[in-house]
Amino acid sequence: MDFSFTPEEDRFRAEVRQFLSKELPSDWTFLEDEFADDHTRWQFVIEFKKKLAVKGWLTLSWPKEFGGVGASHLTQTIYNEELAYARAPGRDIFGTRMLGPVLMLYGTNDQQNQFLPPIASGEIQWCQGYSEPNSGSDLASVQLQAVDSGDHFILNGSKMWTSRAHVSDAIFLLARTNPSAPKHKGLSFLLCDLASSGISIEPIPNLAGMHYFNQVRFDDVKVPKGNLIGAKDEGWSVATALLDFERSGIEYSAEAAKTLEELTAFAKTEKRNGMLLSESESVRQSFASLYTQIEVSRLISYRIAWLQSTGAIPNKEASMGKLFGTELQQRIAVFGMQLLGLSGQLTSKSRWAPLEGLILKQYLLSFSTTIRGGTSEIQRNIIAQRGLGLPRK
């Protein structure tokens, strides 16, 4: 047993932390879901991502042959932890963590040469087109049609919940190329330029009023055949192949730790009924319990990263990390709102909002954390069936 990081890993963490504190405005309280809400802010995000690219950090874990640093999973986890803790922009999950590895595994040399470098440099923003209006947890029920038409496919249908499509350049997606095959067969993995003719993007603002999700409609959109990744009709395997990207879920505990620190500072200055909030025994118990849960979440994530670093595939553990981390975020959000009391109602627009309205934003966003990226119910099913071997039927 050794829970320590190597001196190089510690140095790297310090370097990332120093970079972030230098490059990020000290009053940065924005959350990922609102980066793209505002044009000026999004420009800052893009510039920031490019700075990360210059440091080589965007593709930290990519193998050297694909232009990456070839860093270990633990290094990548440290990086992700620090960026999440700082609520930093530039964590390009769709490009660097999802499409990149897919291309390395299934792309032709030409496709790799064409698509990987712009991801690594931060020039191209990708988004992900899996979900559709009628498919939530049931991902394989894709209805977007891609009809073979000589040197290209013609796409008709729509994608839903497409995060940041409105500020992205391109989308990777699953489309049905063989409508007569069973549900999981007959899908193909395609890359599509969002500037293509026939594409329209409609915002789906969320309950916090932020524009993050979109519906992307495809009306006779042409996709060149060169943009087919892997074999035709085998897109399901391409999309779900067990990719070796970092999946520790370290972000959950990192973001939670930051919030808990901010709430601690609040509790130590704010008085109610003549007493500091931090002097209340039940407030103290809540802080201690949440701190404990954050530690649990963080250690579960470290273990996932470490397992990956040994070449293991921690499926069950990743589901546990996601399940526990996101439900923890909800518990912190509820506690934060309780602690703030009436002031918790104030939005970030109010000059009287404590912590610039951060807690309210986090509370409102917390409804989605246990849904997106695989609902808590799906995670529990996976843990029980795949992890513990309980029977399906």
Binding site: S131, S135, G136, S137, D138, M160, W161, I204, P205, N206, L207, G209, F213, E270, K271, R272, N273, G274, S282, Q330, V334, M337, Q338, L340, G341, L342, S343, G344, Q345, L346, T347, K349, S350, W352, A353, L360, Y363, L364, F367, S368, T370, I371, R372, T375, S376, E377, R380
Partner: protein
């Protein structure tokens, strides 16, 4: 024992349902959030016409003389419909205490004006500390020529921007026995500065700065009872009334969930067939069953004029405690679609959460309950 609505309450409910369905569909709720002025006066005129402004005010002032239980029946429906506007603050936070604590003749005219809808009032207690503890009231009152002078800051005052009067808590630090006073303050009195607050329900809360605001001696509401008594009763009524609104709101959420999970299919079957979803719904329904009955019980206690503080705190503690878990279970049942601004669910989610916070949350009322229990 009779644990159902009376016949007249059932009629009141049916009439309210009908009116709200036509005058206040969710589209109006949305538009009101964006721009209250489009619908405000139309909705208000309707309420006056229906007699709602005088529901709890005796017939001698032109009202209907309804009981607190009648009010709860109505609030359950306005909560279910998310009725925007100042009905709650005007009736619960202002009319009720004015009625109960005015000395004979003190506010007869004002009560008539409340019924006719000519004037509106609301309550101003909380301050920047965001607390309902009496000890956190720092707004100062001192005697002045012919009356009193008030200085301080009030926060989270519901409907302050459209109210004509505030029932306002202030402290006279020179008085040892009864430092807390309750005063009627005109919204246009010199020295008043009212600023709207951006809240997540856009429900028109405001900050009020009082800079040496002078009011006549007749505007003290502590001639019959102490300021503490006025404030504590007012807060108690407000918390039970808020429970009623919340349970209407929560009932609407449960109905949305049931309707959705019955028809939404995933993996080839309605998601309402999944045991996880069924158990979420069962939990919500059970929580709500309790919420309804504790709220009705508290309302009945208030209506009968018996000691009711404990029962009221029990109601607000319980209804507040179920709100957080109910909204999470609802969203979890809906999946992504419930998280969008376009979906109606979020309208209810935000208001239910706000209700949890108002007039004391679970922890605030648990402290009171512990006191009652002699702990």
């Amino acid at each position: 024992m009779y644990l159902d609505l009376t016949e007249s309450q059932q009629m009141l409910r049916a009439a309210a349902k009908e009116f709200l369905a036509s005058a206040c569909p969710l589209q109006v709720v949305r538009e009101f959030e964006e721009d209250p002025e489009t619908h405000r006066s139309r909705l208000w005129d309707h309420l006056v016409e229906l007699g709602w402004t005088g529901l709890v005010i005796p017939e001698q002032y032109g009202g209907l003389g309804g009981s607190f239980s009648d009010l709860v029946v109505l609030l359950e429906e306005t909560g279910r419909a998310l009725l925007p506007g100042s009905f709650f603050s005007n009736t619960v936070l202002f009319s009720l205490p004015l009625l109960a604590f005015s000395s004979p003749g003190q506010n007869d005219h004002l009560l008539e004006q409340l019924v006719s809808g000519e004037v509106k009032g609301t309550l101003a207690i909380s301050e920047p500390s965001g607390s309902y503890h009496f000890s956190d009231v720092e707004t100062r009152v001192s005697p002045s020529e012919n009356g009193f002078m008030l200085t301080g800051t009030k926060m989270f005052v519901t409907d302050a921007l459209i109210s004509d009067y505030f029932l306002l808590a202030a402290v006279d630090s020179s008085s040892k026995d009864n430092p807390l006073g309750m005063f009627l303050v005109n919204s246009d009195a010199p020295g008043m500065e009212i600023t709207g607050l951006e809240t997540f329900t856009n429900d028109g809360q405001a900050r009020i700065k009082l800079d040496s605001v002078c009011i006549p001696a007749s505007h003290s509401l502590t001639q019959v009872s102490s300021g503490e008594a006025v404030l504590s009763k007012t807060l108690e009524w407000a918390s039970v009334a808020k429970c009623a609104e919340m349970l209407g709101c929560a009932q609407a959420i449960l109905e949305l969930v049931i309707a959705y999970t019955k028809q939404r299919e995933q993996f080839g079957r309605p998601i309402g067939t999944f045991q996880a979803i069924q158990h979420y719904c069962a939990n919500m329904a059970t929580d709500l069953e309790g919420a309804r009955i504790v709220t009705y019980r508290a309302a009945w206690k208030i209506s009968t004029g018996t000691t009711s503080e404990m029962e009221s705190s029990v109601a607000k503690s319980w209804v507040s405690s179920i709100a957080s878990r109910l909204v999470y279970l609802a969203h979890q049942s809906f999946g992504a679609i419930g998280f969008t601004q376009d979906h109606d669910l979020q309208l209810f989610t935000r208001r239910l959460k706000a209700g949890e916070i108002m007039f004391g949350d679970e922890f605030f009322h648990n402290s009171k309950i512990a006191d009652f229990l002699g702990l």
